[in-house]
């Protein structure tokens, strides 16, 4: 009886100790800086910066010294905000990754669209309206011009156009 209690309590204590140590080792040390940087990013998870989303990009900026000019949807405003937060110099947007994309927006050629729904799933800001097997269209005011809807389109009916043409 007593040995049973001792062994179960010992087992529970041992396993909790392992978990506490693992949490210490695996958890990121201090996430407040990452949180602050992430707050300044647009958080639309468009991945144009080359990282899987805004949080990974924020982590790369804080922990691995990634450049602050890799966010096309944020554009100049985001770069200035990041520069003042981190005490770095503002630098122009890395144009290899896309333009400050509020300058352009997506346009679906509605006569070609087959309603496959793939662009809708790719859109990080839900700016595409449509149903499966029906024609889709872009809600211009919500589109950030991130260009993510273009690659999945099987009939190439999406084009990027000047927002204020």
């Amino acid at each position: 009886m007593l040995s049973g209690i001792v062994i179960l309590v010992g087992l529970a204590t041992g396993l909790s100790a392992v978990l506490v140590i693992a949490a210490r080792l695996l958890g990121s040390a201090d996430s407040s800086a990452t949180d602050a940087v992430e707050q300044l990013l647009p958080r639309i998870q468009c991945a144009q910066c080359g990282y899987p989303g805004c949080r990974p990009y924020a982590e790369a900026i804080v922990n691995r010294g990634a450049d602050i000019n890799r966010c096309p949807p944020g554009g100049g405003d985001t770069i200035r905000a990041l520069a003042s937060l981190l005490g770095r110099d503002p630098i122009p947007l890395d144009s290899d990754l896309g333009q400050a994309s509020m300058a352009q927006r997506a346009l679906i050629d509605e006569s070609t669209c087959i309603g496959c729904n793939r662009c809708l799933e790719a859109c990080p800001v839900d700016a595409i309206a449509g149903l499966p097997q029906r024609m889709h269209t872009v809600i211009a005011a919500h589109c950030t011009g991130c260009d993510l809807c273009r690659p999945p389109c099987p009939v190439d009916c999406i084009a990027m156009v000047e927002r204020f043409a």
């Binding site: 179960l8 087992l11 693992a22 949490a23 695996l26």
Partner: protein, 193 residues
């Protein structure tokens, strides 16, 4: 070596935990909407299953049996599974935040996946060696992941099919799982354990 291979095949296909023994049906329905999520869930469950079956075996052999405490088996195994699940959640959160977001609530739910406890209990019931226990756990995990991703693939395709109104949603998913289970009956008798 042949015996270990047979154990894997027996646990993964012939006595598949989900479709033949009907254990772990809750994650089968819950995590099989998307193939990506299903594969991730299969991997996470596999990690838990394998570590939990190894740890349970060690604890049973070196703690419970020497002190004649076999009646505490169930509580001890549940403790171990809970810890293994927490550890897996930490690992997934650290190394794949995306997967962590997709799986979300389902990772802690692995703790209540009866296939995990089932493997540990079946292992101790059949008094296997440590290596055989680990292989049995890995085989069960393989079978679980296989069935989960198969069903997710089927469900993804059915979403675009013209399903009669009364069957839409979970009903057709259950029918699909049933037919898949019938198909797995074809493996009966291939390997005996």
């Amino acid at each position: 070596m042949t015996e270990l291979g047979l154990i894997i095949i027996a646990a993964a296909l012939v006595n598949n935990f989900v479709l033949v023994q009907f254990l772990g049906l809750c994650p089968l329905m819950g995590a099989s909407r998307r193939v990506e999520g299903a594969i991730g869930m299969g991997l996470a469950t596999g990690l838990v299953l394998t570590t939990a079956s190894a740890l349970s075996h060690i604890v049973e052999k070196f703690l419970l049996v020497p002190y004649e405490l076999e009646y505490l088996r169930l509580i001890a195994f549940i403790l171990i599974i809970g810890a293994a699940v927490q550890l897996t959640e930490l690992l997934v959160k650290r190394f794949s935040p995306l997967l962590h977001r997709i799986l979300g609530l389902y990772i802690p739910l692995i703790a209540s996946n009866c296939a995990v406890l089932g493997v540990a209990l079946l292992n101790s019931g059949a008094s296997r060696s440590l290596l055989a226990a680990i292989f049995y756990g890995a085989g069960a995990a393989l079978g679980f992941g296989l069935v989960l991703s198969l069903l997710a693939g089927l469900r993804e395709r059915i979403e675009f099919a013209d399903v009669p109104a009364p069957f839409r949603g979970n009903a057709i998913a259950l029918v699909t799982a049933g037919i898949l289970s019938l198909a797995f009956l074809g493996f009966t008798g291939f390997a005996r354990l």
